[in-house]
């Protein structure tokens, strides 16, 4: 990832970090994006998470990602780093978005389990317990569902519609993709290919990779992100997101099926119209050249191959560049001599090749 070189600075020197990853039970990653961050709410979030972790005897480290805010917020983080143990913060030079933030923060985490959260208390901090418990019971990814929503009816309606459509399109039954409070096993994140706005769809992508994803209800406390009320460009973005996701899940491995079939259909429609016009010319002697059908037919017959050839280009990319054929789908390798079943997580991966 090119972003890693010099794109951000870290607080609490990393080189001092112990190499043993099992030192912590869970890494909590809080992402603050470029919006109106309230330092007080941020500090209270950190404190309540630590309180819950302390009560439950979870050895927790906290990683904060300052996604291009800086200024007073970073000073607040620096002060916090003086008093909070096991605290790390990353600052991006500009806003890179949640997907990049999660990826890089996971790279710095030292616990086998990771929980992501917003910079404020979006859900009751007890959710941490629930999420960790579910992960320990074997789930690879835990999504949450906000219950007793505190945001406006319009926001809930939007959210409901978004989740309904996504469920419909992808076939994955999840109810609240917009809730950022999530937990996952640290090792699975490399197996999931997400970027940009796909952040909110990570649970769905995890399901499509064969991971065990569960959803737990959590109590909703507050909603502080940028207003999404009647934001037309946002609706359009979400629509494109869902469509992109659909394409990604269904046709990544076979773009020519999608483009080829639609291109073929267009071509055939054009050919039919042209044939129809030809028959009329021959039988009824109705002119071909001075009627619009021929132009329509021609357009379709040209558009068909064009659409098909885009699929071909996609297919060529996958055929020639698709280097990782099957790494991501292997769950475990069982060998006779060691008699140990090594789950294909993280570091063990290289061994099998």
């Amino acid at each position: 990832m090119t972003l890693q070189t010099g794109a951000f600075t870290t607080e609490n020197d990393v080189s001092a970090a112990p190499t043993n990853r099992e030192e912590f039970d869970v890494s909590v990653i809080a992402i603050a994006s470029n919006e109106h961050v309230d330092a007080e709410l941020f500090v209270s979030m950190i404190d309540s998470i630590r309180e819950v972790a302390h009560r439950e005897n979870l050895r927790t480290e906290i990683i904060v990602v300052d996604d291009g805010i800086g200024g007073d917020f970073w000073r607040c983080i620096q002060i916090l780093s003086q008093r909070v143990p096991n605290f790390r913060a990353l600052r991006f030079r500009r806003t890179f978005g949640e997907s990049v933030a999660v990826r890089i923060a996971v790279g710095y985490s030292r616990a086998p389990l990771v929980v992501t959260t917003t910079w404020y208390l979006q859900v009751a901090p007890d959710a941490l317990i629930e999420v960790v418990k579910t992960l320990r019971n074997g789930a690879d990814f835990v999504a949450t569902r906000r219950t007793k929503r505190v945001d406006s009816a319009v926001a809930r309606l939007q959210s409901w519609a978004f989740n309904r459509v996504t469920t419909r399109v992808t076939g994955v039954q999840l109810h609240d993709l917009n809730c950022s409070f999530r937990g996952f096993k640290r090792s699975i994140i490399d197996r999931i290919n997400f970027h940009g706005d796909l952040f909110r769809f990570i649970p769905i992508l995890a399901v499509s990779q064969g991971f065990r994803v569960e959803e737990v209800p959590v109590a909703h406390l507050a909603e502080r992100g940028p207003s999404t009320f009647l934001n037309i460009s946002l609706y359009l973005r979400r629509f494109l997101d869902i469509f992109g996701l659909f394409f990604l899940m269904k046709f990544t491995k076979k773009p020519l099926r999608f483009f080829g079939l639609s291109g073929f259909a267009m071509f055939m429609a054009g050919a039919l119209i042209a044939a129809f016009a030809a028959v009329r010319k021959i039988v009824n002697d109705i002119g071909v050249l001075d009627r619009p059908e021929l132009v329509l037919a021609l357009f379709l017959m040209v558009l068909g191959p064009i659409v098909l050839s885009i699929g071909l280009i996609g297919e060529i990319i996958i055929f020639t560049q698709g280097a990782q054929t099957s790494d991501y789908c292997v769950d475990e390798v069982v060998e006779h001599d060691t008699r140990t079943s090594s789950r294909k997580d993280g570091e063990k991966l290289g061994a099998g090749r």
């Binding site: 990779q209 064969g210 991971f211 491995k253 076979k254 020519l256 099926r257 080829g260 079939l261 050249l289 001075d290 021929l294 132009v295 021609l298 357009f299 040209v302 191959p305 064009i306 050839s309 885009i310 071909l312 280009i313 297919e315 060529i316 990319i317 996958i318 055929f319 020639t320 560049q321 698709g322 280097a323 054929t325 099957s326 790494d327 789908c329 292997v330 769950d331 475990e332 390798v333 069982v334 060998e335 006779h336 001599d337 008699r339 079943s341 099998g352 090749r353």
Partner: protein, 314 residues
Amino acid sequence: MTSDVELSLVIPIYNEEKCIPPLEAELIRVMPLLPARTEVVFVDDGSRDGSSALLREVVARRPWARMVRLRRNFGQTQAIATGFQYARGKTIVCMDGDLQNDPEDIPRLLERMEAGYDIVSGWRKNRQDKLWTRKLPSRVANWLIGQILGVRLHDYGCSLKAYDARIMKSLRLYSDMHRFLPALATRCGARVTEIPVNHRARTLGKSKYGLSRVFKVAVDIIVIKLITDFSDRPAHAFGRMAGVFLFVGLLTVPLFLYNISQGYRAKNIVLPSVIFLCALSSLYFFALGMLGDLIVRVRNRDSTNYARSTMVEA
């Protein structure tokens, strides 16, 4: 058992718990006939019955057995590709886990490999399946594949095949490509042959395929044909498409001029649009060809096709 494995048997397993014990027995019976350093790679394609547990026991019991389990059901191509990736042998023999292939045929496949072939395909001469739903569609499909892809085999669908591992590892399998492996491999210069093999009716477990496959295979053949043609030399292939449009466009020009000379005013709109459309699409396909070349060249720079380079040596 490290890198000097002679032969890897790759056996994809999907919900075949009833077949695994007899399969193990057959493998034990055939082992003495195979090279000394033989391994069996079971690929559990996300089975949801007891197959995983049974395979685990087999691996614990037999020193020659290994198992790779996929996280969910990814389909036969992905299972085979994974098996190829984990196979350590110089030769790879792939077979079904449903007992319809007879492991006793493997030594004969290996004999042909010794004779200098890179792929030896099984041919189920006396196929024990239903005529209308399995045998007839298969015959049509094999004929079509032979016609379109140029490599004539009687039985592309037969899983029992022996491959040179080096060629298989240089191929990238995805989607539903496993059926066309011999045709794909010949593109890299592989020599392919086939021998009749034994085929037995399915007695245990359920078949995973039905007649619905026919349409899919038909689409697959076209897709494979297009990919192989276009990814070899994209600029040429797309250039041909550009040429077709250019030709049509140029043909229209005299017609247009004739119309003008006759004074048909209304018709003058249609023909110029045809000319423009053809000229523009011609440019478009030409540009796509350049793009395709770029993509293929980027790939060739960092990994040259292994099979091709060895063929030059030989």
